[in-house]
């Protein structure tokens, strides 16, 4: 069910949650760090992060005893995928053309 994924717009409609998100965008951080940097209690921060996780705006990873939250690299991943396919096509076209034009035909000068 796709519907279970929370709407990121809804998730960011809350100004406090936006500040929590902005802190995560600034660099991976723990609940404790966020609560220290913002006027928000730790339980409240956890709750906001829960919503941001559901909305797939942030990711969490375990580092030792700490859980670090970081921005989900959706935009970057998306761009990488598109560029990867773009350059693969380019190199495939390139290989076809390079091998088709080598060795140069009799009428062409074989300098290239």
């Amino acid at each position: 069910m796709v519907a279970s994924t929370a709407d990121p717009w809804q998730a960011l409609a809350d100004p406090t949650r936006r500040r929590v998100f902005a802190r995560v965008v600034g660099g991976p951080c723990s609940v404790t760090e966020i609560a220290r940097d913002l006027p928000v209690s730790r339980p409240a921060v956890s709750q906001h992060l829960r919503v941001l996780l559901d909305a797939r705006l942030v990711d969490v990873q375990q580092q030792g005893r700490m859980r670090l939250y970081e921005m989900r690299a959706g935009g970057l991943d998306e761009m990488r995928r598109e560029l990867d396919s773009y350059w693969r096509k380019t190199l495939t076209n390139f290989k076809d053309l390079a091998e088709r034009t080598y060795p140069p035909t009799a009428e062409g000068t074989p300098t290239r």
């Binding site: 796709v2 990121p8 970057l76 091998e99």
Partner: protein, 167 residues
């Protein structure tokens, strides 16, 4: 911050072609027009041809069927027959990026493996530079980064939703 993996901000593609390195380099640079995929056209009209100016300081541009022009890369290094570096002045939304600080770069290296075999490695790196506009904002006003990020995110989630609903 130090945990950001390198591979997240760069991608690498390579291929081996059965031609000498000089030939490989010149086909790539002289005939870029013929090998560049035509999709992702930034012009309003179909692309007539693409020009790669073979010198440092040169540019790469598309010319539309109506004569319009779109310059989308700068030649940063031109070292025949081994290396070519161009900038990538296109935003993640496939629009021209006018701020060089928000552009990435593409390096193509040509290495001879045999007299008639060349390995071509293409690396597109510093992809995160495109994101600085929306990653660096911390005072959440109504800056430009915010809507941009959301729009991109929406596009991604919609694609994801479409993919999921087909199952």
């Amino acid at each position: 911050m130090s945990t950001t993996p390198q591979d997240q901000t760069a991608l690498q593609v390579d291929i081996v072609v059965d031609v000498p390195v000089e030939h490989a380099f010149h086909v790539f640079t002289d005939r870029f027009d013929e090998i560049k995929p035509r999709e992702h056209n930034l012009l309003a009209v179909p692309i007539e041809r693409t020009v790669l100016e073979p010198q440092i300081g040169g540019t790469v541009y598309d010319i539309g069927t109506d004569g319009s022009r779109c310059t989308w890369a700068r030649v940063l290094a031109y070292e025949p027959p081994h290396r070519l570096v161009i900038s990538w002045d296109i935003s993640p939304r496939w629009q021209l990026e006018s701020d060089p600080d928000h552009t990435s770069e593409v390096e193509i290296r040509f290495t001879a493996e045999a007299p008639e075999r060349t390995r071509v490695v293409l690396e597109h790196r510093h992809l995160d530079r495109h994101g600085e506009g929306w990653q660096s904002f911390t005072s959440l006003g109504t800056g430009e980064g915010w809507p941009l990020y959301l729009e991109r995110f929406r596009a991604a989630t919609q694609r994801q939703a479409n993919g999921a609903s087909s199952s």
